[in-house]
Amino acid sequence: MNKDQYSKRYFLTLLIAMSLNILPLSNLVKSLNPDWVLLVLIYWTLAVPERVGVFNAWFLGLFVDVLTGRLFGMHGLIYALVNYTCLKFHRRLRHYPVVQQALFVFFCLLLSQVMVFWIENIQGTAGLTWLFWVPVFTGTLCWPFIYAGLRWIRILGHIG
């Protein structure tokens, strides 16, 4: 319920997710690295939908664009879209078991990756191999852990 506590934890988890996104990893592992920021955003959207709005997600996306050197506004658009879908379905999703939620998360990540693929292709980016799609699957596999971890953090802070 504490708004101050909530925003502190919200920003801290996002900060950690951002660091995970740009972690220097070996060649093989870095193509497995999922979009942690999006996963964390999905969690907070489902957990406290009244606080994480579309504008919020869009602004976060701008930060991610700057962080990873993408076209300005690309992740803004994508995060806003995914956030909107989550807001639309959050009532239903809350009652789903984690596995079923993971399926929904899979489609969210797929939507995001398709958008990235589309926008990168418009810009004429070369070198997109099938490895480009791997983060969608690893992200889905990570969802139960993210869900459990962030839920623990949320309950610890008595948020929502």
């Binding site: 951002m18 220097p24 193509s31 701008l62 700057v66 962080l67 050197g69 070369a126 490895l131």
Partner: protein, 257 residues
């Protein structure tokens, strides 16, 4: 739009810094915990190399002057005057499908887009975006990068395209009968205007003619140690034309008249 990006990048810079701290710490520990004998050995080899280099530099100065004089005769004179800035890489990884690195010097130090970036062995890449505190450098091995090169042995010009692997460049536009062989050094030709002329880029390591196709399959290995560089040089190359006759000569002729 660029201003907004600059502002956000300053806010986000601590995250990039934070991520690269562990790697930097490990490097520092490695640097600190070196035995006395190893340091001594390194010192001796460095001194030797320094001696050899300074002798080479002695000759270079006279050769450069001669070059400028000869170019003056040919009426296409350019002074190759380059200023460099040492920048350090931040250990961050932007996206897996691009070879872009972040360095810790930005527009605050005067770094701007399209500047070429070198290391001690050859060309590394070019600056694609300069932000206030950092800038993004695209490596020559990025699949979206191409660099005009020339074979040092015979001056044959072509384009080297990044392959997406850190140890390989492709040369897709040379015919099967082109005079190129493994071991040839490729230097930048300076034709695109982005890179200064004459810096080593790569060494050809495999030439496979394809009888049924117009172009041969040629691979080269970059000279720069792209996978283990820590420090890079950002280059300002201004190719300002120099007068055909040196100023002293001109004043002399004026005095004679």
């Amino acid at each position: 739009m660029d201003n907004t990006r600059s502002v956000l990048s300053v806010l986000i810079y601590p995250v990039q810094r934070l991520v690269s701290i562990p790697v930097e710490l490990i490097e520092q520990v490695n640097d600190t915990v070196v035995s006395y004998t190893a340091l001594k050995k390194e010192n001796i080899t460095l001194k030797e190399r320094q001696l050899i280099n300074s002798i080479k530099l002695l000759k270079l100065e006279s050769l450069e002057n001669e070059n400028i004089r000869l170019r003056g005769l040919l009426e296409n004179s350019f002074k190759l005057d380059e200023q460099v800035l040492v920048a350090e890489l931040l250990s961050v990884n932007l996206v897996p499908y691009e070879h872009v690195m972040v360095v810790n010097k930005g527009s605050r130090f005067g770094v701007h887009e399209k500047q070429s970036v070198l290391d001690a062995n050859g060309i590394v890449g070019q600056v694609i975006r300069s932000l206030p505190l950092s800038s993004e450098v695209m490596l020559i091995t990025d699949p979206n990068h191409a660099i005009p090169v020339q074979i040092n042995r015979n001056g044959l010009r072509t384009i080297a395209i990044g392959s997406g692997q850190l140890d390989r460049l492709n040369l897709p536009f040379l015919p099967n009968n082109a005079d190129i062989q493994p071991g040839d050094l490729l230097v930048s030709s300076g034709l695109g205007g982005a890179f200064p002329q004459g810096y080593p880029v790569a060494v050809v390591d495999k030439v496979t003619p394809q009888p049924n196709k117009p172009f041969a399959n040629i691979y080269a290995t970059p000279k720069a140690k792209l996978d283990r560089i820590r420090e890079i040089l950002v280059v300002w190359s201004d190719s300002t034309p120099i007068p055909l006759l040196s100023p002293e000569v001109e004043t002399e002729t004026a005095a004679n008249e």
